[in-house]
Structures are given as C-alpha cells and as structure tokens.
C-alpha cells in the first residue's frame, strides 16, 4: 500500500488520541488517549523506516524505545491515579489540584 495510507491512518489515530487527551475528564482515559498517540507515532516510525530506509532498522529501534517509555509511564501514572483515587472517589482532572499553591 502507498505510504500516504499509513500516514493517514497514523494521523487519524493521533487525532483521536489528541481529542481524548484534551476533552476527557477521567485521568485514566487521558492516559489511554496518550497511549493511542504514542501508538500512532510508532506507526509513523515503522512506516518511514520500512519505506524510506528499508536497509536500516533505526525507526524500528526507536519504536521499541517508545514502547519501553510508554510502559514505564503507564506504570507510574497508574500508581499515581491509584493513590489519588484512594483519597477521593474519582480521578477527574478538573478536581485534582494538589500542587496548586
């Protein structure tokens, strides 16, 4: 398939994730939207690596590192949401202002 198609897929997925991260209230949903955006970035990297530099797998390696960072981010983020949810009932980002002076 043409590279346009893959890039269009990635753009649509990134748009979905961006909307979710901006518009949703629940912190866990925002985390999931960020995962969507990271996935679309991975798709871009894989596609560029495959179409433009098929002999060098650098894009694939970068995607693997992004997966690693996403896993670490999800673990720490969920732990933070867990303690916030333990102290209050929901994790609405509009109501969380623990760091506000």
């Amino acid at each position: 398939m043409p590279l346009h198609w893959v890039l269009a897929t990635s753009a649509l997925l990134f748009g979905l994730g961006l909307y979710g991260a901006l518009a949703l209230h629940n912190a866990v949903r925002i985390l999931m939207s960020i995962e969507l955006m990271l996935n679309s970035v991975n798709l871009n990297l894989v596609a560029f690596s495959r179409y433009l530099h098929p002999d060098q797998p650098k894009g694939l390696i970068m995607a693997i590192f992004i997966m690693t960072v996403a896993a670490a981010e999800a673990a720490v983020g969920l732990a933070i949401f867990l303690i916030i949810a333990r102290n209050r009932t929901d994790v609405d980002v509009d109501k969380i202002h623990l760091l506000k002076g």
């Binding site: 890039l7 753009a11 649509l12 518009a23 949903r29 999931m32 098929p54 693997i64 996403a70 732990a79």
Partner: protein
C-alpha cells in the same frame, strides 16, 4: 487494488473503530478493552508493514502488559467515570458538548485541525508508492544495530524500567505500610 491493500484498509478501519471506542465508550472498563483491541489492530498493521518483531513486541508489551495493567488499576482502585446527567437525550448532550469551549469545541477543533494539517502535509509530499523489497531478516538486523550502535540507550531503557517499577511500588504502597 491488490489483495494486501484491501486487507490493509479493512484492518485500518477496524483499528480506527476500536480507537474511537476508547475515546467514546461510556464505561471506563469498555474503554480499556477497546484499547486492547486497538493495540491488536496496530500489531496487525505492523505485520503488514513487514515489522514482525515489532508486532510481537506490540502484543507482548501493549496488549499483554499495558492493557492488563490499566484493567488491573481500574479494578483495584474503583475509579469511575462520572458522567454528568446520563439520562439526558443525545442531542442535548451533543449541543452542550459543542457549546462548552473547554470540553467540547476547542479539543475538537484542535484535534481535527491537527489531523487535517498532518493529512494535507503528507498528501502533498511525494512518497514512494510501494516499499522496496523487504529485507530478508529484519529481526537479526534489529539485534545487530541494537547491541552495537544503541547499547547505551538500551541500558538506559532497562534502568528506566527498573526506576519506574520501584517508583510505582513505592507510590502504590498503602500509607500504613509506609509510616510503620
């Protein structure tokens, strides 16, 4: 249109529908399950792009670890999505969504605008229509480059995972345990 293009379009449509389910589903648990389905679809797209190793890593890390972790977190913490007035008719909710700038219109404009900009830019650039012949062993070359040129980032990634593990445990420990 060749068979692989048809397969690609079908897989992409399924993946994007699942992604829509993540954002639009009214229950948090359903959202997390849609997220897992989206990750599986992305793995299928990776397979179509001849990135077998990455598809396997995607299944292992995203579907196996991250989705499970999110589901576990939701179940453990009793986090709920508190939706305002679920009984209101759809058009009222839609109208309210569009009229509220912070939660409806601005994010929608930002997301649609960004997607449109990406789309226009990528559509105007001349890209190669079809990929070159697939290299015979992508996984082996990933290993070669990873453990020669990218050894330091690889080690840093392992340290990062360790730090995240310890940090998550410390954060999620109960207060009583910490104060004892």
């Amino acid at each position: 249109m060749s068979a692989i293009q048809v397969i690609y379009l079908l897989v992409t449509a399924a993946t994007l529908l699942c992604g829509y389910g993540v954002v639009a589903s009214s229950r948090l648990m359903h959202s997390a399950l849609w997220l897992g389905a989206t990750f599986v679809g992305m793995a299928a797209i990776f397979v179509l792009l001849d990135a077998d190793f990455l598809a396997a890593a995607q299944i292992l890390i995203y579907v196996g670890a991250i989705t499970t972790m999110i589901l576990f977190g939701i179940m453990l913490s009793d986090i709920r999505d508190l939706r305002p007035e679920p009984g209101a008719p759809v058009w009222t909710r839609l109208l309210r969504l569009v009229l509220s700038p912070r939660r409806g219109l601005l994010p929608l404009l930002a997301a649609v605008g960004f997607t449109a900009a990406l789309w226009v830019v990528t559509a105007r650039t001349p890209w190669p229509a079809e990929p070159a012949a697939a290299p015979d062993n992508v996984t082996a070359s990933i290993g070669d480059v990873m453990f020669s040129q990218y050894v330091l980032p690889f080690e840093i990634a392992s340290v990062l995972l360790l730090v995240a593990l310890v940090g998550a445990i410390v954060l999620a420990m109960r207060e009583e345990v910490r104060s004892r």
